[in-house]
């Protein structure tokens, strides 16, 4: 290689996708998709332009949140959300443990395994809001429908992760316990539980946090919680009140994340 050629050569970083045809094909596909998607987008820009004033009003509302004029509704809504979160997480954990045990391949017989995995898959694919619509239709408006929705959603999250954790446990302690002639329950209690408990506690705390966030949403379809209050505030264009509710939610979520971080560090 001559000096001149070496000087003309320029290093470039290797691309993320090595196959050049795949790379070009993906880029072309993405361009075609973007053109189609943006082309069929129906947006009334005038309406957007008119709405910008209201956007500004909302930002002003965030700067000066109004906790006072709807304080009764806000506090009742937040309290109901918190109460729903606690009960739903408790029920969800109680249901997730048997389902999680059943969905662990190394513990459960095949039919039980398939049944529990099916339940987990159903809970994970169905959106909370959709489940809430169905439960509201069955159980009527109110926090009970919300509790059932969140409990059902908790199964999909907690039971799946618990089952994966059980499948990842060290088989040696379980085998040792089994060799002493222990029953199935004793095997769980001494062979499995100590190995998965710290993670289960951490995941439950995390789910508590998620359930609170979700409880603020399902109120929109009538399943109780602060969502209904929030919906009303937006409908009346009371942005200062809406901002107050959102700030309360953010503050509670931050506090919960901080607290669960502390507890998880102590447990693990």
């Amino acid at each position: 290689m001559t000096g001149v050629a070496a000087a003309a050569r320029r290093w470039t970083a290797p691309p993320l996708i090595a196959d050049p045809w795949l790379r070009r094909g993906l880029a072309l596909g993405a361009a075609v998709y973007l053109a189609l998607a943006l082309g069929t987008l129906s947006v009334s820009w005038r309406r957007v332009w008119e709405g910008l004033d209201r956007g500004a009003a909302f930002l002003v509302g965030f700067a000066r949140p109004d906790f006072v004029s709807r304080w009764v509704e806000i506090s009742e809504g937040i309290l109901e959300s918190l109460v729903m979160t606690v009960v739903a997480t408790a029920i969800g954990i109680l249901l997730s443990i048997p389902v999680g045990l059943g969905a662990a391949r190394n513990l459960a017989p095949r039919p039980v395994y398939l049944l529990c995995r099916g339940l987990v898959a159903a809970s994970r694919t169905l959106q909370e809001v959709i489940v809430a619509i169905l439960f509201v239709a069955m159980f009527g408006f109110g926090p009970l429908a919300g509790v059932l929705t969140l409990s059902f959603a908790t199964i999909g999250f907690l039971a799946k992760l618990l089952a994966e954790d059980i499948e990842d446990t060290d088989p040696a302690p379980a085998e040792a316990i089994r060799a002493t002639g222990a029953s199935w329950l004793q095997l769980l209690n001494y062979g499995i539980q100590p190995q998965v408990m710290p993670r289960l506690i951490g995941l439950s705390l995390y789910r508590l946090d998620i359930n609170f966030r979700e409880s603020a949403v399902i109120g929109i379809v009538g399943a109780g919680g602060v969502g209904a209050t929030l919906n009303t505030a937006f409908d009346r264009y009371e942005y200062a009140t809406a901002a107050a509710i959102l700030m309360t939610i953010i503050a509670i979520v931050m506090a919960a994340e901080y607290a669960s971080g502390l507890i998880r560090r102590r447990v693990q």
């Binding site: 970083a13 993320l16 998709y33 998607a37 943006l38 069929t40 987008l41 129906s42 947006v43 009334s44 309406r47 957007v48 008119e50 709405g51 910008l52 209201r54 956007g55 909302f58 309290l79 109901e80 918190l82 109460v83 729903m84 606690v86 009960v87 408790a90 694919t125 959106q127 809001v129 959709i130 619509i133 169905l134 239709a137 069955m138 159980f139 009527g140 109110g142 926090p143 009970l144 509790v147 966030r213 979700e214 603020a216 949403v217 929109i220 379809v221 109780g224 969502g227 929030l230 919906n231 937006f234 409908d235 264009y237 809406a242 959102l246 939610i249 953010i250 979520v253 931050m254 994340e257």
Partner: protein, 271 residues
């Protein structure tokens, strides 16, 4: 080691008495909290409706099947809108998420005292508020339609993508960064050649993961008027057209399953 003496025999215990007592108190407090919460819910529940629920459920099921297959023809356009909301919303979120992640990561932030907390606050605010609530807000500001949905999805995704990305940036190998800095590279060059190649696969994985979640979330945004198949769901539920609701559920489930499969394959290919 905590040992209890019972009739002259030493019995091993897992915890010392004081600690055992604390554990029991914790359980007691937790149980009381749950019972009290449950009573709050029970007081706000119409039990007549609840005892009626099995009958209602059976009735609902009877109304929901068979699904109205002919209704599918009217659903393709809303479904296309839903997919666009999720995809364009994810793309729109990636653009601000990258600089926010760089400002939030401990090893790239210009100031750990001033800038980092601000970036973290942005991330938490975006993450704490569900996309449906963002949609509620945006429908009230910029009017109902697909755009409100796209912006709602984007606002919710910024925090998610930025959080996972900044965690990935904090975990990078220091050596390449140091080597590139030693060549006299500027800040932007260090990011381009030292940091970007290390986090690019994670970034692609996070984006596809979030896109998958967004498909799921965008299916219900229409409930508050933010476009997509949720609009049809809302109008069908409002007129109690349950066979149409079933049809929409089937389509949503199929879309979610396909998007999850795509996301799993892409992430598998990257990692």
């Amino acid at each position: 080691m905590p040992v209890r003496h019972a009739a002259g025999v030493r019995v091993w215990q897992r915890r010392a008495r004081r600690r055992q007592l604390l554990v029991w108190l914790g359980w007691l407090a937790g149980t009381l909290l749950i019972v009290a919460s449950w009573q709050g819910i029970a007081a706000n529940t119409m039990w007549n409706f609840v005892w009626d629920a099995p009958a209602q459920g059976a009735d609902l099921l009877a109304r929901m099947v068979p699904p109205r297959w002919a209704y599918t023809g009217r659903l393709w356009r809303p479904l296309w809108d839903t997919i666009n909301i999720a995809t364009l919303g994810t793309l729109a979120a990636l653009v601000p998420a990258v600089p926010i992640a760089l400002l939030a990561a401990r090893n790239t932030t210009p100031s750990a005292v001033l800038v980092r907390p601000a970036a973290l606050l942005l991330i938490v605010s975006s993450r704490s508020i569900n996309s449906l609530i963002w949609a509620l807000l945006l429908v009230s500001i910029i009017g109902p339609g697909v755009l409100a949905g796209i912006v709602a999805i984007a606002l919710r995704s910024i925090g998610f993508v930025a959080k996972l990305l900044y965690e990935a940036i904090e975990e990078i190998d220091r050596a390449p960064v140091e080597a590139i800095t030693a060549t006299g590279a500027g800040r932007a060059q260090v990011v381009t050649f030292g940091i970007a190649p290390q986090v690019l696969p994670a970034f692609a994985g996070i984006s596809v993961f979030r896109w998958d979640i967004n498909i799921r979330e965008s299916t219900v945004l229409g409930l508050v008027g933010a476009g997509g198949i949720g609009l049809e769901l809302q109008s069908s539920v409002n007129v109690l057209a349950w066979p149409q609701v079933t049809m929409i559920f089937i389509l949503i489930l199929a879309t979610v399953v396909v998007s999850e499969a795509i996301s799993a394959r892409v992430r598998h290919a990257i990692i």
